[in-house]
Symmetry: C2
Subunit: 202 residues, 2 copies
C-alpha cells in the first residue's frame, strides 16, 4: 500500500510526516499544496480536511487523517519511533501537545510572518518571540539531563519538536544560549535515514 500526503514541503508540520515516512521506509506519494495561493481553502481541499489545514494523509485511497501529531502517531505505531510502554507513550504525547500548544503557535508563526509574509515589523512578532523563548527554555531544561525527550531514545516526540526548532533562525531566534538544544538538534540530524526539510524559495 502506498500512502498519499497532501502537504507543503517548507511547512514543519508537513516535514514531520515526510520524515517519519522516510525513516520508516514507507512508500508514499507527495502532493504539493500551494498554500500561499489559498489552495487549502478550496472546496476540493476541504473534502480532504474540513479544517483547511495541511498535512493530510490518505490511507487506502479514501480514508483521510489530518493533524500532524495524529498522522505521525498512526504511522509510527508498532515501530521503534513510538514506545509501547503506557507511560512512555503518554510522555511522547505530552511533548507533542506541548509542541502544538506552546511551541508551534510561536516559533512556526514567527517564521511564517518573517519568511512567507516577509513582514519583519509585524506587530505580533514581539509576543511570538517571547513565547518562542519560553518554549525553548522548557526544552533546554529538559534536555540538560537527557539525550532525547522520552525514554532516552529517538521518538516522534523528537521529530515533532525538531521540525520548527531546527529552523529557529528563520523565526528570528538565537539558539546561542541553548547548548543542550543545539546538541540534541545534532543528534536528531544524524539519525539513520534523516532527510532535510526543503528550503523556502525567497
Amino acid at each position: 500500500m502506498t500512502y498519499e500526503v497532501h502537504g507543503v514541503s517548507s511547512s514543519g508540520n508537513c516535514y514531520k510526516v515526510r520524515l517519519v515516512l522516510e525513516q520508516l521506509g514507507l512508500p508514499y506519494r507527495w502532493h504539493e499544496v500551494d498554500m500561499m495561493s489559498g489552495a487549502c481553502r478550496t472546496e476540493a481541499f476541504r473534502k480532504l480536511n474540513p479544517n483547511g489545514k495541511v498535512p493530510v494523509l490518505i490511507i487506502d485511497g479514501n480514508t483521510t487523517l489530518s493533524e500532524s501529531g495524529a498522522i505521525i502517531s498512526y504511522l509510527a505505531d508498532a515501530s521503534p519511533l513510538l514506545p509501547t510502554d503506557r507511560l512512555e507513550r503518554a510522555q511522547v504525547l505530552q511533548w507533542m501537545f506541548f509542541e502544538q500548544y506552546s511551541h508551534e503557535p510561536y516559533v512556526a508563526v514567527a517564521r511564517f510572518i518573517r519568511v512567507f509574509l516577509k513582514q519583519h515589523d509585524d506587530p505580533r512578532l514581539p509576543e511570538k518571540t517571547a513565547g518562542s523563548y519560553r518554549a525553548l527554555d522548557v526544552m533546554e531544561q529538559h534536555l540538560a539531563t537527557r539525550t532525547f525527550f522520552v525514554g532516552e531514545r529517538y521518538t516522534i516526540a523528537d521529530i515533532a519538536l525538531y521540525a520548527y526548532t531546527h529552523v529557529a533562525d528563520e523565526a528570528g531566534l538565537d539558539l546561542a544560549n541553548y547548548p543542550h538544544i543545539r546538541a540534541w538538534l545534532e543528534r536528531v540530524r544524524t539519525q539513520p535515514r534523516h532527510i532535510e526539510m526543503p528550503g523556502v524559495d525567497q
Copy 2:
C-alpha cells in the same frame, strides 16, 4: 493507587481529567491551584510542570504528566473511552489535536477574557470569536452524520471537545445555528457517571 491532580476546577482542560477519572471510577485527590493569583508561576509548581500550566497528573507519588490530552490518553488506555483499533486511536488523537490547536485557543481564550478577566471590550475578542465559529463549523459538519466524533461511540475525543464547547455561552458564542452540536452535547451530558464542571465564582 490514588492519582493526584493539580488543577483549576473551572478550567475546561482540568475538567477533562476529572471527567475521565470519574467516569472510569479511578481514585484521585484533587489539589486546587489558585491560577489567578499566579500559583502556576511559582518555583514549587514549576517542579510539577516546567511549562507552568495545569492540569498536572501525579502517578505513583512522583511521576508527573502534563498536557490534558496526554493525561486523558494515559488514564483511558485499555478502557472503553479509548479504542484499541489503530486507525480509530489516530482519529481520536486527530480531534484532540484539533481541539488544542483550532478550538481551545479561541473558545477557551474568549471565555477566559470574558469570565476571568471580565474584559468585554478586549481587542482580541473579534478574532477569538471568529476562530471559535470556524471550529464549531467543522464540528457541526462532522456531527451532521455521526453520534460521536470517532467510531460511533463515546471516547476521550468527545470529552476533549465537550469541555469548552458546553460552556460556549460563557465565551459569548451562540449555538442556535448548531443543532448537531447541541444534540451531541446532550448525548455527552447523559453518559453514565457524568459530572458537571464547577461554575466560576463571578
